[in-house]
């Protein structure tokens, strides 16, 4: 066989395939073969009819361990979270059944036929909209992430939590949301000159209410009716959800019933007592809506192991920024001493998950894997030390520091805070 230059892997594979094809022609079936008992040698799936059709498809039963991880207060089971298993997923779109959840008092059962959105307050004409009416407006689709302000909050603790990547950092998901740009309806109602804020209220058992700057709703917010092409899941706001791209989850109000236009914020519990970021001087950041650039390696990650030593492993992960596009993700295998640019899956979209990957040749050495994202504003994801130096240990919300996975010499992987 002709010697293939090593630098051309593709050519090597093509050449091999071609000679295989010719080899096939050179084996004429000249004599009758003994009867082959195909039923004995083929997999069972090929020797019988398969299952019938289904009205709504479900994941393979072999994938039944790929689930959201639920954490709720037993006294109020509707108040809690479920994390998305980011460490088990690929690509950038979060399947609807695995989108993270944060509920303040459970998932309400809302009949779309009776649900209504009211826009009132500082408008010329208060207006109500049924779901059927909203479906008649031009529908805009937007792929974007939604991240809970409290995502990764265990990382503020003094010891690293030893939990799978998604079950620590998976209060973030990415979906294609489709619905009516909020600005159409606000303009239809007629915004008064002194209007500055909008109080969004939910029709759930918490009547959740938060204030959102009017300017943002007029920019890129959507009244979502659809999630990845199908109507919203109940746990994601059915029948109507406010999607505010790049801003913390709490303002992406699910089960939306009212938008009241005002001069000032309401100072609700969820914009004062919660979702505010306590600083070392005892004051707190309020209305810190934007989710800053962040990334993590989803595979390999905590709880996995590297079977081959030496071996080649495909490092992959997710990066996102609430301020725009991710322009760069660097990966380190030595705890941040040296960095290599990872490949970004195209197209890279603003305020959306960006998948990155990089092949890695492991030689069996102790290693600390990290990723570091940069967004189009030039902001670089900070190290944990840098974040803590600025924000202290009690911020609880908006943790976006670099996440580190330690690889032991026997190939086990742990969550660590590097020195």
């Amino acid at each position: 066989m002709k010697k293939v230059p090593l630098e051309s892997r593709r050519q090597f594979l093509q050449y091999t395939a071609l000679s295989g094809a010719f080899a096939g022609f050179s084996l004429p079936a000249l004599s009758a073969q003994p009867d082959i008992h195909y039923r004995d040698i083929l997999p069972e799936s090929m020797t019988q009819a398969g299952a019938g059709f289904s009205n709504y498809g479900q994941p393979s039963p072999y994938e039944n361990k790929i689930i959201r991880w639920i954490s709720a207060n037993p006294d109020t089971p509707g108040n809690g979270v479920s994390w998305s298993p980011l460490h088990e997923l690929q690509g950038t779109i979060t399947p609807n059944g695995l989108h993270f959840e944060r509920h303040h008092n459970g998932v309400p059962d809302i009949d779309p036929a009776t649900h209504m959105l009211l826009i009132d307050g500082l408008v010329d004409t208060p207006l109500s909209f049924t779901i059927d009416v909203l479906k008649r407006y031009p529908q805009q689709s937007r792929i974007c992430f939604i991240e809970c302000g409290g995502n990764s909050n265990s990382s503020w603790r003094s010891r690293p939590i030893e939990t799978a990547a998604g079950y620590t950092h998976g209060l973030v998901s990415n979906a294609e949301w489709t619905g009516v740009p909020v600005k159409y309806l606000l303009h239809e109602a007629g915004i008064k000159n002194n209007a500055k804020w909008v109080i969004a209220e939910a029709a759930d058992g918490a009547s959740l209410n938060v204030s959102i700057p009017l300017e943002k709703l007029l920019d890129d917010a959507i009244l979502a009716l659809y999630q990845n092409g199908e109507r919203l899941r109940p746990e994601n706001g059915y029948p109507l959800r406010l999607v505010v791209p790049g801003w913390e989850g709490i303002v992406n109000v699910k089960w939306l019933r009212q938008l009241r236009v005002t001069k000032a914020p309401v100072m609700s519990r969820d914009e004062t007592a919660q979702y505010t970021d306590l600083l070392p001087d005892g004051t707190a950041r309020q209305f810190s809506f934007e989710m800053a650039a962040k990334s993590l390696i989803t595979s390999p990650s905590h709880g996995m192991s590297l079977p081959d030593n030496p071996g080649i492993y495909q490092l992959t992960g997710l990066a996102w920024s609430g301020r725009g596009k991710i322009i760069r993700v660097e990966v380190s295998a030595d705890g941040g001493d040296s960095w290599v640019d990872a490949e970004l899956q195209q197209p890279v979209m603003s305020k959306a998950f960006t998948r990155f990957s990089l092949p890695w040749q492991w030689q069996g050495q102790y290693a600390v894997l990290q990723s570091r994202a940069t967004d189009e504003t030039g902001y670089v994801q900070p190290s944990r030390d840098e974040l803590l130096a600025k924000r202290g240990h009690h911020g609880f919300f908006h943790f976006n520091a670099i996440i580190s996975w330690e690889i032991s010499e026997d190939g086990f992987i742990y969550h660590v805070y590097p020195d």
Partner: protein, 174 residues
């Protein structure tokens, strides 16, 4: 050619999707009357706008708290399966800051707004206005934010100055 396409579109009623402005029919229903109804006016502002008639005191609030709240928030509101509501005033700069209603919340009106819309979780909107004022009074009086005999109502609740009133800085707008 262009004319023929345009003519066809006109006959079909189709409009080329070239316009910078989206074209749609305004379909909102005028809702001024709806907007005045109580069920669409749940929001209570720091200036007291939205607060209902009624009143309550700490001594009225104590048995209500024990009946409706203590199972999760603990007797004396010091915390249980749900977060503590009282105490820890002045702890925010300490090594172990505790964010209770009395140590952290900037406005007392938020307490009324939140209790009415969300508490107790099993039966929201089951407490009447007098009961909610009384519960606010009970919680606030635990740390001396109001005196034990103060009657809270639509006038006095917004006048309460919370210890951490000036503890927040708005990130937005920059």
């Amino acid at each position: 050619m262009f004319t023929r396409i345009s003519l066809t579109l006109v006959l079909l009623g189709l409009l080329p999707a070239l316009a910078a402005q989206p074209l749609y029919q305004p379909l909102g229903q005028p809702a001024a009357e709806l907007s005045d109804r109580p069920e669409w006016n749940l929001t209570i502002s720091p200036d007291g706008q939205g607060l209902p008639a009624g009143s309550g005191t700490a001594s009225q609030g104590k048995p209500l708290f024990e009946q409706h709240c203590a199972a999760c928030h603990g007797f004396g509101a010091i915390g249980g399966s749900a977060m503590p509501l009282v105490g820890e005033v002045g702890s925010l700069t300490s090594e172990y800051p505790e964010k209770t209603v009395n140590s952290y919340w900037p406005y007392a009106t938020t307490l009324f707004d939140y209790i009415r819309r969300s508490m107790p979780p099993s039966t929201p909107y089951s407490l009447n206005s007098n009961e909610i004022y009384a519960l606010c009074a009970y919680i606030l009086s635990q740390d001396g934010i109001i005196k034990a005999d103060v009657e809270l109502n639509a006038v006095t609740l917004p006048q309460v100055t919370m210890p951490n009133r000036n503890g927040f800085s708005a990130t937005y707008p920059q």
